[in-house]
């Protein structure tokens, strides 16, 4: 409370400059370095005793929000996670990085992006953030949908794949990584931005901040409180291993390589 009061008084001194409240959703996912295994009965991916961590793109989003706060352009960074009880660990990591407070929507169900977007819309309507920074995709389901869906449901502007975010007054200028290179767009706030890899390099939380994060508040809610239909729209019929590729042959020289490509593979 005190901290919030202190920063908002600073914002008064800055005059008309917008001091944002930023909301960042974070997802607990399998660590990017883990080689996942498909269950033998094809019912899904085996997540027992697998190292879990914050979705890397969400980590980038949290970092970006904190940098806005450190630059005096944000007054509060709120992180939210929708998932199993253990998502509290993910929220603690975000708090240790520097987020101010957290909201946990506990559910044991695997929610689809549309359901997640609907719950986030509910949170946005009470929290009233100026900016929501969402990771462009979660590295488990690789859907790349939640931010765009949330933006559509809120009727807000969106910019996906951000590699740079600049905020001036009620506008945000976003540089986006698109297929042909880079595109810069200007959004009217409030807006939803999805973060790409090169937006920043997330910090490691220091030991004192990890200790401090233990005392930061995590508000717990259930998905039922939002009174929305979160039932799945998709039925997962099967999860399989991809067709594996076998290693081929080693060649000894450039000449041999060229010869193989010409006469054996016939690709050049």
């Amino acid at each position: 409370m005190l901290a919030i009061f202190a920063t908002s008084s600073k914002s008064c001194a800055k005059g008309i400059e917008r001091v944002m409240k930023i909301l960042v959703p974070v997802k607990r996912v399998v660590d990017a370095n883990v080689k996942i295994r498909v269950k033998p009965d094809h019912s899904g991916v085996d997540l027992a005793n697998v190292k879990m961590t914050m979705n890397p793109f969400d980590e980038i989003s949290v970092e970006e929000a904190i940098r806005f706060k450190e630059a005096g352009k944000a007054k509060e960074v709120v992180v939210v996670s929708i998932g199993p009880g253990k998502s509290e660990e993910t929220l603690r990591s975000a708090l240790a990085m520097g987020a101010d407070r957290a909201i946990l929507i506990e559910t044991e169900e695997q929610l689809e992006p549309l359901a997640v977007a609907k719950i986030l819309k509910g949170i946005a309507s009470t929290e009233k953030p100026d900016l929501i920074i969402v990771g462009k995709q979660a590295i488990d389901d690789d859907c790349n949908q939640t931010g765009q869906m949330l933006s559509a449901l809120l009727g807000w502007a969106q910019a996906t794949f951000a590699s740079k975010i600049e905020v001036e007054a009620d506008r945000a200028k976003i540089t986006r990584e698109v297929d042909g290179g880079l595109q810069t767009v200007e959004l009217r706030l409030p807006a939803v931005v999805t973060s790409d890899l090169r937006l920043n390099e997330p910090r490691y939380a220091s030991l004192p901040s990890i200790m401090k994060a233990k005392k930061k508040p995590i508000e717990k809610k259930t998905s039922a409180e939002f009174g929305i239909d979160i039932s799945p729209r998709l039925t997962i019929l099967k999860t399989e291993e991809p067709e594996s590729r076998k290693a081929g042959v080693r060649v000894q020289s450039t000449v041999e390589l060229l010869d193989k490509l010409k006469s054996e593979a016939r690709v050049i």
Binding site: Q137, G181, L182, T235, G248, S253, T254
Partner: protein
Amino acid sequence: MAILLLAEHDGVALSEQTARATSAAQKIGGDIHVLVAGGGVSGIAGAAAKLAGVAKVLMADDPSLKNQLSEPLAVLMISLAGNYDTIIAPATATAKSVMPRVAALLDVAQVSEIIEVVSSDTFKRPIYAGNAIQTVQTRDAKRVLTVRAASFPAAEFTNSAPVEIVAAPADPGLSTFVSAALATNIGRPDLTAAKIVVSGGRALGSAEKFKDVILPVAEKLGAAVGASRAAVDSGYAPNDWQVGQTGKIVAPDLYIACGISGAIQHLAGMKDSKIIVAINKDPDAPIFQVADYGLVADLFEVLPEFADALP
């Protein structure tokens, strides 16, 4: 009912990814209507009308659609959606941005990056960077799908479908285009459509060396140029050259990985290539496990030799 297919283009030409998404749409079945949205796109609409299997092209030609920003594009697609039970697009940056908006506004799920059409409502898609393949069935009244273009053959340009003009609804005015820094690949084939891709990794060491060593080989082969995430992060190559889970997904006839170790997320972007060549100094680099031809050598020696030996 019919299928609405959002055409991918850069304002100048129709992307080959549209032709590939068309063959995915053909497998689903139903009349295919291709939507070409943009500013000054009559030529592109004409090209789309030639796509085999297309019943009709819808052209929304309006300055507000020139930069294909997601908000006005979604409004346009929603205005048309009533006539379709499937809305589909190749998984490009534009479609990845707009399709979930369309799905949310229709209150339906989206199935992202399908790699196989099992039936009209059942699809295969990769999860965990392609380390597992999920078969999913949608239960929604409308299906919103993005297509991993590399997984489907391109439909041929043998048709002459009619082009119908559709009106662009008012731009919601939520975002505006400021500028673009595009076309770093000028004069070379599109990375996602190229028959040959030459990719460089961190081992290149600098943007200059990347240019000096990778580009001559690519030019001689008429190949597109790709890069690993490490090379892009280090500033050796621009972001739109990145191949991988979060970059571009490619499946050329020949993929030449130079100085790329083969991280999971890179393999996710190229392991469906027909022939993979790996050139790396490290004999234990994981890239060799997926390579048809591996050469353990210094790429700074091999690549100039390679370029010299090519006609």
